[in-house]
Symmetry: C2
Subunit: 148 residues, 2 copies
């Protein structure tokens, strides 16, 4: 299945966040080319620091699949994961991660630091820049409107 196909689903999740006044980030966990779980950033709505799109999608995928090891899953997210979410990816042993926009300030897949290549830990493969401009423009647009 095309990576852009699942990134578009993640983008649709990000747009739900946008409508709620949340920083628009969306995530999808897949297995065998099927969506297992999806979520969007709901930190403000849930008033809780852990409700990033990826962490919630990983939580849901574990619940759905009945185990903490997501060995056969892939994760798609519109923004480069932060350390918390990259750490959750490592802890859940998700082998493949695809993200859209890069995050130079807080990105933990190589931009600000790299949580996915710790020498003595599980090291997921990752690829950034999938539908990068759509993912990035959504966030830029959000902050432009916020400043108005």
């Amino acid at each position: 299945m095309d990576r852009e196909y699942f990134m578009k689903i993640a983008l649709a999740e990000a747009k739900k966040a946008y409508k709620l006044g949340e920083i628009p980030v969306g995530a999808v966990v897949t297995k065998d080319n099927e969506v297992i779980s999806k979520s969007y950033n709901k930190r403000e709505t849930r008033k809780n620091a852990v409700f990033h799109a990826e962490l919630d999608a990983i939580y849901q995928a574990c619940e759905k699949l009945g185990g903490w090891r997501l060995w056969e899953c892939e994760l798609y997210v519109t923004l480069e994961p932060c350390p918390m979410c990259a750490g959750a990816i490592v802890n859940a042993k998700i082998p493949n991660v695809y993200f859209g926009a890069y995050d130079t300030k807080n990105g933990a897949c190589g931009s600000a630091l790299n949580v996915l290549n710790m020498p003595n830990n599980f090291r997921p493969k990752f690829e950034g820049g999938i539908l990068e401009s759509e993912c990035s423009n959504l966030i830029k647009d959000f902050f432009k409107n916020l400043r108005k």
Copy 2:
């Protein structure tokens, strides 16, 4: 209030994990020298990768205090936080972190990498080695029994 006082509460949480066959790690979030939330590692019991002691304690503290910013809180944990939990500490803006044992493999407060001093992000203060031998021996004892 004494740091060891709260670390002992975190150790009591870790012992609950031990009894359930979980890697014994416990965490406490405090505010104004009172316990706001506490938790222990329940990854196996909950069959979910996100149920580390610190992440669950942070989740609970946000729920209890009704907001994602834990600016006036402190976190005590028996083992150096992993990247996921250190990232959650940064995301929740917890200014002070105290941990017991160091984790050379997965510790994200300086041992394997440092999530708490990202140049463009919130940088919590942290101190390791609080009741280090008690915290460390509990984990060593757990793995020694596991191998039997």
